[in-house]
């Protein structure tokens, strides 16, 4: 972990024009995706999904049910493969790890005083270590938005770098909590700082705010990832969380990624949707595509 304040400050130089960004994102998100492309996109959406439950009322039973669903997104169509991961609170990592042992589905845990991130560093790091020890393959943390907005980029950077250290072999997904950053310029800057600190994935939101992933934010972060790749050669993934509820939205995001980062990014290793209700809509769409009849939501399992 090294101090690089001058380099971090230089990241401020690149800026984003809000309206033009939104215009481009809206256009990409409205590509007309039909037939074979739609089917492929829906399958990708499932394959890149972090099926998530992050509620105070979560229980082992709820998590076990979700893990079953993760393995069999559509119980009536075994051709639909498992989702990428399940995402739970740290205390339920053990439950999920046991339920998914021997399967390709990863266990992701939020950690580091999620969703606010407001706790002492040693407590946050200890939580990460414990989650990894309990079997988490991936750790989702939030950056210190207070430090970021106050201009203390080094502090944000070092915090993330320490989290990365604490992860060991687990992947670190760093949440920017875009809804609190106030501008695309800041979203871009936070993306660059989080990537410079060694994040494996940068992620939009905790899902706890009303403003989370939007097409423009996704595009802004994808462009930051592409620029980081150009500058350092490092491939960083993107996770969109919060607000992605329909298959149509998901396909729009896939177009944004495909036409910004290329199809190489449309894999579970580099791209994720963090979602809960999205899966059902995707399954309904897949069933419609296969049968030509509109499917019924109540026929899907409740997880």
């Amino acid at each position: 972990m090294s101090e690089r304040p001058p380099a971090l400050e230089s990241l401020r130089a690149a800026s984003v024009d809000a309206l033009a960004l939104e215009e481009r994102a809206a256009r990409l998100a409205s590509r007309s995706i039909k037939r074979e492309s739609k089917r492929a996109g829906l399958e990708l959406t499932v394959a890149c999904m972090d099926l998530t439950t992050l509620e105070g009322a979560d229980t082992p039973g709820k998590v076990e049910a979700m893990c079953q669903r993760a393995l069999h997104p559509d119980p009536e169509d075994p051709a639909i493969g498992a989702v990428a991961a399940v995402c739970v609170y740290p205390d339920l990592v053990g439950v999920a790890a046991r339920a998914l042992a021997g399967t390709p589905v990863k266990v992701a845990s939020v950690a580091g005083a999620f969703p606010s991130g407001r706790s002492h560093r040693e407590h946050r790091l200890a939580e990460i270590r414990q989650a990894v020890a309990d079997g988490a393959d991936e750790i989702d943390i939030v950056i210190d938005r207070g430090a970021f907005l106050a201009g203390r980029l080094t502090e944000v950077h070092d915090d993330v770098a320490a989290a990365k250290d604490a992860c060991g072999d687990a992947h670190l997904k760093t949440i920017l909590e875009v809804g609190e950053l106030g501008s695309y310029d800041n979203i871009r800057l936070a993306s660059m700082v989080a990537m410079a600190a060694g994040s494996d994935v940068i992620k939009t939101s905790t899902g706890k705010l009303s403003l989370s992933a939007t097409p423009a934010i996704a595009l802004c972060m994808a462009e930051a990832i592409r620029d980081h790749l150009d500058q350092t050669g490092a491939e960083v993934g993107l996770k969109l969380a919060g607000g992605v509820r329909t298959a149509k939205q998901a396909l729009g995001y896939l177009s944004i990624i495909a036409e910004t980062l290329g199809t190489a990014w449309l894999t579970p290793e580099r791209f994720r949707f963090g979602a809960s209700s999205l899966l059902n809509d995707v399954v309904l769409q897949l069933r419609f595509g296969a049968s030509g009849r509109y499917a019924r939501l109540d026929n899907l399992p409740v997880d």
């Binding site: 800026s15 481009r24 995706i33 039909k34 074979e36 492309s37 492929a40 177009s255 449309l266 049968s291």
Partner: protein, 498 residues
């Protein structure tokens, strides 16, 4: 989409590729029915040309004939002008503005009702991507009608201290790049102000204009208020030189514009000319890079570059030039060139074989003058007229490609060191229609806006149009404005209220 069209799953291939290849998503042609023979609209009725001549309109994406259209001659122009004069004298001039407004509002609504049909027809006849005709051309055309309808009963408010009156009969000649939109730009203010119109649409793209003519019948416009005489250059020349009109409004090439200017010299006929351009698109080193790339791409590849205000000359600051051009090359590699009716097509068909030949000749000329020509690898459709997106570097500024309007998907790239140099290069042209500037510094935007010799300056955006916003050029890009209060004035005589 019907599930029967479902292609079998290619489980072997990579789903990311299968997704991103975007299987064709073709807008159905079923919504339009093209009449095989189309007449002139004179005095509210469809009639054949006096001498019975016709010409064929062709679909640019396939090269196949679409329909026969009456070829208007001098006699037809005479009849149309006479009908327009009669309608002017007998009904339209003295009709209360509020009533004229109702006809125009009605027409705007009818156009909105049938917007998709118009969009598909525009794309079939002209070759532009359906996304553009559907999302830009047709909605904007309706907006122009709607906006100007509201002016009809407020003309005395248009210019403070001046009483407004219509001019009389207006001869209007429209181009093939935005066929219906340019018709709306022309007829909406003319009719709102109480003038009557004889309209000559571009020969390669008459069909949506004729359909709009049919809508004026559905809207029960008084006969003769809007007359349409289809045909080619000779028809337009006959209209522009006709002794019975009070104003000519022309959008098209600078060359033809000058000939019209000469034709009305020494007469009281008023004139609005919206002509060619060679717009500079300036990108400063502090610009928001990705958005500037999109702006530049949109600036030149929108509508295949068949845009008089296209940003056809990129001027990029030296410090970022290499990186910018690299990214631009990469970006145009992602443009989808092909079937204009495919909803995912970014760059459609070149409007005519002649235009394609002109573009190819320009690009060849650039090569011969030592410029470097880049075209991304992209498969063009085998039939129809298409041209790959093209970037020309190694341009000094004196080459033909840097001075003349190509009117195609061809961008030249030059660099600059200082703002002053950028402005000097931008202004070193006989044209003066549009310019674009990308910088994050507000004061720099205003400095450029003050120094660029252009009728429209887009800052951190490009190719935006609105009925409330005056559009038009300086220098040899023409004179007069279309849109806004200033555009309205072009169709009024103003006398001081004493």
């Amino acid at each position: 989409m019907s599930h029967n069209e479902e292609t079998p799953r290619k489980s072997g291939s990579n789903p990311a590729e299968r997704f991103a290849d975007y299987v064709p998503s073709i807008e159905s042609r079923d919504i339009v029915s093209i009449r095989s023979r189309n007449g002139l609209l004179i005095d509210g009725a469809w009639v054949d040309a006096a001498d019975g001549r016709t010409f064929t309109t062709v679909e640019p994406a396939t090269g196949e004939a679409l329909a026969e259209i009456a070829l208007g001659g001098t006699e037809d122009v005479d009849r149309a002008v006479a009908a327009a004069r009669h309608a002017y004298d007998s009904v339209w001039r003295d009709m209360p503005g509020a009533e004229r407004a109702r006809y125009l509002f009605r027409l705007a609504r009818l156009l909105q009702d049938r917007a998709r049909e118009f969009a598909v027809l525009e794309t079939i006849d002209g070759g532009k991507p359906i996304r553009e005709s559907r999302d830009i051309d047709i909605p904007l055309a309706a907006a122009h009608l709607f906006h100007h309808a509201g002016w009809a009963d407020k003309l005395d408010l248009a210019v403070p201290g001046m009483r407004a009156a219509p001019l009389g009969v207006i001869g209007q000649i429209t181009p093939w790049n935005f066929p219906l939109l340019m018709v709306a730009w022309k007829i909406a203010p003319a009719l709102a102000c109480g003038n009557t119109v004889v309209l000559k649409p571009a020969e390669t793209t008459s069909l949506t204009t004729l359909l709009l003519g049919e809508l004026t019948r559905e809207a029960e416009f008084p006969p003769g208020v809007l007359n349409i005489v289809t045909g080619a250059g000779d028809t337009g020349a006959a209209l522009a030189a006709h002794g019975g009109i009070d104003k000519v409004a022309f959008t098209g090439s600078t060359e033809v514009g000058k000939s019209i200017r000469r034709a009305v010299a020494g007469t009281p006929v008023r004139l609005t000319l919206e002509l060619g351009g060679k717009g500079a698109h300036i990108v400063c080193d502090d610009a928001a890079m990705d958005q500037a790339i999109e702006g530049v791409v949109d600036g030149i590849f929108f509508n295949q570059g068949h845009v008089c205000c296209a940003g056809s000359r990129l001027l990029v600051q030296e410090g970022i030039a290499d990186a910018f051009v690299d990214r631009l090359r990469d970006r145009i590699g992602r443009l989808r060139v092909g079937d204009p009716l495919d909803k995912n097509t970014d760059v459609g068909a070149i409007n005519s074989a002649e235009q394609l030949a002109r573009i190819v000749e320009h690009v060849e000329g650039a090569r011969q003058e030592g410029c470097e020509v880049y075209q991304p690898p992209c498969a063009l459709p085998e039939r129809g007229w298409f041209h790959a997106p093209t970037i020309v570097t190694g341009v000094g500024g004196s080459e033909r490609i840097a001075r003349e309007e190509v009117f195609g998907p061809v961008l030249t790239v030059q660099t600059f060191r200082t703002e002053r140099e950028a402005v000097d290069r931008a202004n070193a042209t006989r044209y003066g229609l549009s310019a674009g500037i990308w910088t994050e510094k507000g004061s720099r935007i205003l400095w450029f806006a003050n120094h660029l010799r252009a009728g429209v300056v887009w800052a951190n955006t490009f190719n935006k149009f609105d009925p409330a916003s005056p559009f038009g050029g300086v220098r040899e890009s023409g004179f007069g404005r279309e849109g806004g209060r200033q555009g309205l004035q072009e169709y009024l005589t103003l006398a001081p209220v004493r």
